[in-house]
């Protein structure tokens, strides 16, 4: 049976999937700009990001309409809310790609400089995690989403590697401080990409299993967490 709400949910889902692929593409482009030292690519990222912003507005509008006209409940409601939250995270990924492209512009002025291996590894990891998160959404696959949550720590470690090496590089050769700082900035932005991918995976778990796993480990470790757990 097709319900009136089904095509509405379907449309939202298509919109967020398109927005997600665009975010993946723009992240890829910003990283290509870094690794190929391509200033022209870096400049394109800025334009592409505007399209992501436009898509976020379209999703906001569609979400408000869906809530107003369909008054969704249960898993329908969780889907609509998750899509709204995902749109926010995907839009942020676009902004982060733009930041990376800014670093790419600066780094392109120094075509001879070495790029750290750690940055490549981190870039691959972050991209892979974003891809997994978006895939887990497109298939409503809670298992895959849970794997994304586990992977987040790996990215943190990679980021720390890059930062440590960059700081060492600065003390070895202060003349290259500007480049090393950009490596740190790119690493930081990539780590944030993975954070947003984690949020997306958490949204998928909210949709599929009706569990809110946000801040789960942090809150579980809080000694005050034992109280106030009832349903008041």
């Amino acid at each position: 049976m097709t319900r009136i709400v089904d095509p509405v949910l379907d449309d939202l889902r298509q919109k967020i999937l398109r927005m997600g692929s665009l975010a993946e593409a723009i992240l890829q482009k910003s990283l290509d700009a870094i690794f190929k030292r391509d200033a022209a690519l870096a400049r394109e990222v800025r334009i592409d990001d505007l399209e992501i912003d436009r898509m976020e507005l379209a999703i906001d509008e569609a979400v408000l309409r869906a809530l107003a006209t369909q008054a969704p409940v249960a898993d329908d409601l969780r889907k609509v809310v998750a899509i709204k939250m995902m749109a926010t995270d995907i839009e942020r990924v676009g902004d982060l790609a733009r930041n990376i492209a800014k670093s790419a512009l600066r780094l392109s002025e120094d075509p001879a400089g070495e790029l750290p291996d750690g940055l490549r590894i981190l870039a691959d990891e972050s991209r892979r995690i974003l891809r997994s998160a978006l895939d887990s959404f497109s298939q409503y696959d809670a298992k895959r989403a849970a794997d994304v949550l586990d992977d987040d720590d790996v990215v943190d470690e990679r980021q720390d590697d890059v930062i440590r090496n960059a700081i060492a590089g600065i003390s070895r050769n202060p003349a290259r401080t500007s480049q090393e700082v950009d490596f740190i900035l790119v690493a930081k932005n990539l780590e944030r990409v993975a954070d947003h991918a984690t949020n997306i995976a958490e949204d998928v778990i909210l949709v599929t299993e009706a569990r809110n796993v946000k801040h789960a480990s942090k809150l579980a470790a809080d000694p005050g967490a034992a109280e106030g757990d009832g349903d008041g």
Partner: protein
């Protein structure tokens, strides 16, 4: 050693207004309710939802023994109000129906004045001595039903001359006038426009400070808005009962989900 009731027991005692245990109802040969167990919490609005014919009205009518007057209707099981069996030998159904008042889908004021509509119950139940006291009950009841300001200059006009929404609030005032504990409402807004509906919904929120309210509604949004607890009935049984916010975001039972999201087919 003194025994102190455990906190869980105390809060049970405090929270539960009506307990229903193993309630079965038949109309002739046909069984309409199957082993219903349901607790209605004090000072809360409880919504009963479910497809047409699932037994919501039948259950509601059990709570004040309105089924007694339906020919061929047989009720088995236990319903306790504040711990007392409503089917107890010493229970007078007329008194019970004052304590557990009812408001129907279609506003049904008597073909009498506004004042008479409200004063009738307290008078026959002997709740007032003299006109002054009755006047006071009428005023307070109309005020609590959020109607007094609109009708204070028309108390002698016929109740049937009011708008649908006003008539429904008049019926609520009539129920309130006999000092009930519980107010049952069977689809009270289904004949009302959105504004009149909103007024009744606000009223429920105010009234629950004093009364326990059970409402049958076909509007999922209304159930979600007005009630703290929701029970989903299907085929004469309670499928799921729980906190309203939880039931509408993450129902425990698949059948509940299918019903509230319109997947039933």
């Amino acid at each position: 050693m003194t025994t102190i009731s455990r906190p869980a027991e105390r809060s049970q005692l405090y929270l539960t207004k009506i307990t229903t245990r193993d309630l079965n109802v038949w109309y002739g040969e046909k069984q309409a309710l199957f082993s219903v167990n349901l607790d209605i919490e004090r000072n809360r609005v409880t919504s009963l939802i479910g497809p047409s014919g699932c037994g919501k009205s039948t259950y509601l009518r059990c709570l004040n023994r309105m089924n007694d007057v339906i020919e061929g209707c047989r009720v088995e099981g236990k319903i306790a109000l504040d711990g007392d069996d409503v089917h107890g030998e010493d229970v007078d159904p007329v008194q019970l129906r004052a304590r557990v008042g009812m408001v129907f889908q279609k506003p049904n004021p008597f073909p009498k004045s506004v004042w008479e509509n409200v004063a009738y119950g307290p008078r026959i139940h002997g709740l007032a001595t003299g006109r002054a006291e009755l006047d006071e009950i009428v005023t307070t009841s109309l005020e609590r039903a959020g109607l007094f300001a609109e009708v204070k200059d028309r108390l002698d006009d016929p109740g049937t001359g009011l708008s649908g929404g006003q008539q429904q609030r008049l019926c609520i005032a009539r129920a309130i006038a006999v000092q009930p504990d519980v107010i049952l409402m069977d689809e009270p807004c289904s004949a009302l426009d959105p504004i009149a509906t909103a007024r009744i919904e606000e009223l429920m929120e105010e009234l629950r400070a004093r009364y326990t309210i059970v409402i049958v509604t076909h509007s999922m949004q209304q159930a979600a808005r007005v009630s703290q607890r929701t029970a989903f009935f299907h085929l004469g049984a309670v499928v799921e009962e729980g906190e309203t916010g939880k039931l509408f975001t993450d129902p425990r039972e698949e059948r509940t989900r299918d019903y509230i999201t319109g997947r039933f087919g």
